[in-house]
Each structure stands twice: as structure tokens, then as C-alpha cells.
């Protein structure tokens, strides 16, 4: 028998999810409530779910920095942890108490580094400015702490997912 437990965060709200295979279907418990459903992975990142005859298509969008799920025209920020199997979501940054990485959300060019290493920063404070398609985007600190390292120099070309700075 297959049994899985996950901690899921949807738009900042935590849920406890248990999934169990049962007679070719899925018995699912979300925050204690039971749902029975049928699910097929139509292709990578596209899931078809049937619940009581109602059909849902869910699309998964994974960028270098985050994961979003689309249910119809609605988009949800999602995070997933699997305490039992230790299969965390891919591409995540380090845990909340330790160092956090500042990742480039898109390919571009570093036009300005706003704070030098060893500076104390507030959560949300701008650290690096990246230019793409002739527009500038200020990348903000993911947490309050000290900028331990700045890994990109002004003028450098960066790819999506590149670590630009580490805040601890």
C-alpha cells in the first residue's frame, strides 16, 4: 500500500495533505477532510483530476526560483515539503533560519549592486538591479540579515536561477 504525507503551502497558507492509493483511485485527506479522486498526469506539468465527476486541469509552472499551480484561470504560489521521504521541491533556497540565496528570476545583465558585502539589510531591501528587455528590475533581499556574499559583478550577464547574493 502506498501512503504519502506532505506539507503544502498555497498562497502562504499551510495544509497537511495525505495521499493513499485505493482501488485504482486516490483517497486523499486535506487538513483532515476526506476526498476520493481520480488523477492522471497527462504530460509533465499537466494534471487531470476528477472529483465526483467534476473535471479539473491543473498546470504546474516551475521557474528557477518558485513554483505556481494554475487551476483554470487562477494562479497559486505553491510550496511542497515531504517530511517522510525528504523529497523537497526542486530548486528551493536554503531553510529559513540559515543562509538565503538571492536568485536571478530572469536572464539579464547586472547593472548595479546596491549594497556591498557585510551590509545589514532588511527583508525586501533592494540588493541588485538586473536589466532585461531594456527595463530594470530591483531584486530584493529575501530576509533580514547580513549580505554575506555578492556573487555577480556590475556588467555581468546572468541566467535565470543564478545565485547573485547570499543573505544570512
Amino acid at each position: 500500500m502506498l501512503f504519502m504525507t506532505y506539507e503544502v503551502t498555497i498562497n502562504g497558507r499551510s495544509h497537511r495533505l495525505e495521499l493513499e492509493r485505493a482501488d485504482g483511485l486516490w483517497q486523499c485527506r486535506l487538513d483532515g477532510r476526506e476526498v476520493r479522486l481520480d488523477a492522471v498526469l497527462a504530460r509533465r506539468d499537466v494534471l487531470s483530476v476528477l472529483i465526483d465527476g467534476k473535471a479539473y486541469e491543473i498546470k504546474r509552472e516551475q521557474t528557477a526560483t518558485d513554483m505556481h499551480l494554475w487551476v483554470g484561470g487562477e494562479r497559486f504560489a505553491a510550496e511542497l515539503r515531504d517530511p517522510k521521504s525528504l523529497r523537497g521541491r526542486k530548486g528551493g533556497s536554503a531553510d529559513e533560519h540559515g543562509a538565503k540565496k538571492l536568485l536571478a528570476p530572469m536572464p539579464g545583465k547586472v547593472v548595479r549592486v546596491l549594497v556591498p558585502e557585510q551590509t545589514e539589510v532588511e527583508a525586501g531591501q533592494g540588493i541588485i538591479v538586473v536589466e532585461a528587455m531594456k527595463m530594470q528590475n530591483e531584486l530584493k533581499s529575501p530576509k533580514k540579515g547580513v549580505v554575506q556574499k555578492v556573487l555577480a559583478a556590475e556588467g555581468a550577464a546572468v541566467n535565470a536561477g543564478d545565485v547573485l547574493a547570499i543573505v544570512e
Partner: protein
């Protein structure tokens, strides 16, 4: 007819022209910059040549390099697409000098239309309507009073040397005129060192409506109906449609005839578009002529049944227009959504990157002109237009319904796009009623998006799906026996046994 054409462009429009070449049996030649080696137009073309670094000035705008490729590859004509070199008279002339046909008007026509003052002189002679007012500076307050009374309030005072809103004053009634004129003059003097001010009728809630024309090199010219382009964000078109909800057959005929007059006054050849500003009472005024194929040309193609790129190529090859004005029939309704790589939740900031998932709509009344594919990385160096989704239907309502349906099928993962913006516009009541002007979209966006009640149900589905994606994912990682065993999904196991059953049944029959 040409045997080989070079396309001096990239993205969806290069793919559009390459397709037309293929349909006409013409060999297509693509050019590409460093970052476009893997772009769709390079994949689709018969031949492709590298022309330089990512910066457009060193590649897609580099006239000597493009002409060199044309010569080396033996291309007889160059299609410029839109943007880049398409309205560059020097390029059109350089093509002629190199013995290569430029698919578009002559350099002389382009130059005339490129200069506002020269265009105005020629057009006024041809009886083309301009926004009423003085084209030269006002000599006195008395003259201002007289002109304003003649054209009717509200009027706009504008600095002759101006731009950027400096030295501009909106005047609603005669008693405001004197102080407004003084203020505009002193502001113009301060800003531009020139106090010359002219007056124009102020168009309240203007609409941007344009007319497509086609002209051959034998003096024939036809109009192909209007396109309403009032849905704009920061002066950039976002959605276009034809016919315009404002235009009736009489207005269309008048606008078409004036557009043809504009084209003839400029000795225009090939495809072109005459832009007008219209008020809500159907008075319209000449703005400018776009001397190229427009981004939004597909809406005209759908309602006329014509292929404008085929026609551009045939006209450039010296053929006569294959139909007369009387043979042009408009039928149905078409609407185009410009899909941009930009983030609606982050002030429409460009969002280049890798497309990790692409689900494309199809079905009745849907056309998609696209320059992207799954796995392609959208470069940061060019315009963020990815694709155009065009809907067609019997009438406007059916077209809107089809587009909303298709937008819900459309999914681009890995980068942000403005697809959600179109759901909002197409579902808006004012838009559905055809009530629009060039300020419509900025007003709509200034309202906070109607945040519906928090969708707990969808959030719960998302939470369950987050786990299911992992549980159903074909896993290549080791060290988790229970998960690998669970990979056979609900559907998969049953399907497999179904196949087996059928195979057995088949086996029995054949045996």
C-alpha cells in the same frame, strides 16, 4: 515571380513571411543574431545566415550585412516585416541600388510619409481631413479667439516646438482662452526657447481607427476595411479588431476612399495603413501612414479572405492587383490579442526566459501566429511580442466567446505573459458593448482587478495537485521505494490491463 526571398526580421513575423514563401514555392532565407540561432524563424526557413551580435544595431538593423547575405544567397527580394528596417527609406533605396526588390513602397513614398510637414502639405492638397486648427503659430489673441470659435470648443493649445505635454493647454470655453494662451506661450518659451503656439480641436475620448490599403505598380489601389486599435497601453496597441464597433458602411466607404486618396497622393505601392483619429460622432482625421505590413494585419486577412503577405510579394513582383474594389467583400468579425512576455502582476515588466511548458489553443475560429516553442529561451534583447492569438466568428459576440475559450486553453509556463489581461478585457462589459477610446485600457487597469471572493475550492484543488504531481511523477531518483512503486497512476494501471484484454481478445479472434 521571385525564386528566393530574404526575410530581414525575426520572431512571429519572420515565421509568417517564411510560411507565405513556402506556400508560393519561393525559397526563404532567414537571418539571425547570436541569440537567435535556436529561434523558430531559423528552424522554419530554407536557408539561414548569421548576421552578428544580439544588439539590433549590429544585426537586424545592419544594412550592409543584410545586403551581403542577400547577394551571397542569391535572394531577389527582401521582405522587411514590421519594425527594424521596414520603414527605413535608406534601406529601401539601398536595396534598389543593389538590384534587389524591396517588398514595400519606394524610398520616395516612405520619405514623404516620414516627414510630418511634407505629408501634411501633400495630403491637404488631396483633400484629406486633418484635426481642425492652425498648422502655424497664432499671431494674436484675436486670431486664437476667431479660430477657436470656428472649430468649436474644447480646443487644445500646443507649442509648435513642443512635445511631452509641455506648452499644452486644454481650453473648455472662450473665457479660459486668454489666460491659457499666455500660460502656454510662456511655458513654450521656457521649455523650448520658442513661444510659438497653435490651436487644434480637442478630440474628446478619441478612437484610433486605421484603414488597410493595397496598391500595385500600375496605378491601382484598393481599401480593405478598417481596424479598431483603441485598446492601447501606454500608446502601444494590445488588441485590435475589424470591423470597428463604431464604423458603419457609409463611414467605412468614406474612410476607405480617403485612404486611397492618401496612397495615391504619395505614389504609394504595396501594402500600407492609413491611421485616423476618430471622435465618437464618427468624424475622423488623418494621423499618419504606416508604410509597411502591420502587426495586426491578420484581422483584415480573416474578414476579407485575402492573404496580405502573398499579395505583397505578388505586387512587388510587378503583378497587377488581382481584384477590383467591388470584388472586396468583408465578412464576419476578427479580433487579435498580442501575447507579450511581460508580467501583469509586476507592472508589465518584461519577462524573458525559458518556456518550460506550452499548451496552444486551436479549434473553430482560432488562428495563432507564433514565434515561440516549448524549450525555447525568449531572448532579452528584443521586443517582447511572442505570438498573436486571432479569433474569427460570424459576429463580434461569437468572436469574443471563441477568444475567451481559446485564452483558457492557452498556457505558457516558465515565463510570465499578459494572457490574463485579455480575459479581463474580453469579459468587461464596456468592451463587450463596443464602448472604447484610447484611454479605455489605462482606466481599466487603474481599477484594482475585481478580486472575486477567495477561491477556497480552487486553492484546495491546488494543494491536492501539488502532492499528486510528485506522487505521479515518473521518478528517476532512487532511495524512495514506496514512491517509485506508486508511479503507476490510477489511469495507467487500468489502461495497461485494458490493452492486455483487448490484445487477448484480438488474439482469440485471429486464432
Amino acid at each position: 515571380m521571385f525564386r528566393k526571398i530574404l526575410i530581414a526580421n525575426r520572431g512571429e513575423i519572420a515565421v509568417r513571411v517564411i510560411r507565405a514563401c513556402r506556400e508560393l514555392g519561393i525559397t526563404s532565407v532567414a537571418v539571425y543574431s547570436d541569440v537567435d540561432r535556436a529561434s523558430l524563424h531559423v528552424r522554419k526557413a530554407d536557408e539561414a545566415y548569421h548576421i552578428g551580435p544580439a544588439a539590433a544595431s549590429e544585426s537586424y538593423l545592419n544594412i550592409p550585412k543584410i545586403l551581403d547575405v542577400a547577394r551571397r544567397s542569391g535572394a531577389e527580394a527582401i521582405h522587411p516585416g514590421y519594425g527594424f528596417l521596414s520603414e527605413n527609406a535608406k534601406f529601401a533605396q539601398a536595396c534598389v541600388d543593389a538590384g534587389i526588390k524591396f517588398v514595400g513602397p519606394t524610398a520616395a513614398s516612405m520619405e514623404m510619409m516620414g516627414s510630418k510637414t511634407r505629408a501634411r502639405q501633400h495630403m491637404e492638397k488631396a483633400g484629406v481631413p486633418f484635426v481642425p486648427g492652425t498648422s502655424r503659430g497664432l499671431q494674436s489673441f484675436a486670431e486664437a479667439e476667431q479660430v477657436a470659435a470656428r472649430i468649436g470648443y474644447p480646443v487644445m493649445l500646443k507649442a509648435a516646438a513642443g512635445g511631452g505635454g509641455k506648452g499644452m493647454r486644454l481650453v473648455g470655453s472662450p473665457d479660459e482662452l486668454e489666460s491659457a494662451l499666455q500660460a502656454a506661450r510662456s511655458e513654450a518659451q521656457r521649455s523650448f526657447g520658442d513661444s510659438e503656439v497653435y490651436v487644434e480641436k480637442y478630440i474628446v475620448n478619441p478612437r484610433h481607427i486605421e484603414m488597410q490599403i493595397l496598391a500595385d505598380e500600375h496605378g491601382n489601389c484598393v481599401w480593405l476595411g478598417e481596424r479598431e486599435c483603441s485598446i492601447q497601453r501606454r500608446h502601444q496597441k494590445v488588441l485590435e479588431e475589424s470591423p470597428s464597433p463604431l464604423v458603419d458602411p457609409e463611414m467605412r466607404r468614406r474612410m476607405g476612399e480617403i485612404a486611397v486618396r492618401v496612397a495615391k497622393a504619395a505614389n504609394y505601392t504595396n501594402a500600407g495603413t492609413v491611421e485616423f483619429l476618430s471622435d465618437q460622432e464618427k468624424n475622423f482625421y488623418f494621423l499618419e501612414m504606416n508604410t509597411r505590413l502591420q502587426v495586426e494585419h491578420p484581422v483584415t486577412e480573416l474578414i476579407t479572405g485575402l492573404d496580405l503577405v502573398h499579395l505583397q510579394i505578388r505586387l512587388a513582383a510587378g503583378e497587377k492587383l488581382p481584384f477590383t474594389q467591388d470584388e472586396v467583400h468583408l465578412r464576419g468579425h476578427a479580433m487579435e490579442c498580442r501575447i507579450y512576455a511581460e508580467d501583469p502582476d509586476n507592472n508589465y515588466f518584461p519577462s524573458p526566459g525559458k518556456i518550460t511548458l506550452l499548451l496552444a489553443p486551436s479549434g473553430p475560429g482560432i488562428r495563432r501566429d507564433s514565434g515561440m516553442y516549448e524549450g525555447w529561451t525568449v531572448p532579452i534583447d528584443y521586443d517582447p511580442l511572442l505570438a498573436k492569438l486571432i479569433g474569427y466568428g460570424t459576429d463580434r459576440q461569437q468572436t469574443i466567446g471563441r477568444l475567451i475559450r481559446a485564452l483558457n486553453e492557452y498556457f505558457v509556463g516558465g515565463i510570465k505573459t499578459n494572457i490574463s489581461l485579455f480575459r479581463r478585457i474580453l469579459n468587461d462589459r464596456e468592451f463587450q458593448a463596443g464602448k472604447m477610446d484610447t484611454g479605455y485600457l489605462d482606466r481599466l487597469l487603474a481599477l484594482a482587478a475585481e478580486a472575486g471572493p477567495p477561491q477556497d475550492k480552487s486553492a484546495n484543488i491546488a494543494a491536492i495537485a501539488a502532492g499528486l504531481f510528485i506522487a505521479l511523477e515518473p521518478t528517476t531518483t532512487t532511495g524512495n521505494g514506496s514512491l517509485s512503486n506508486g508511479v503507476g497512476s490510477a489511469g495507467r494501471g487500468e489502461a495497461a490491463s485494458g490493452w492486455k484484454r483487448m490484445a487477448r481478445a484480438e488474439g482469440l479472434r485471429s486464432g
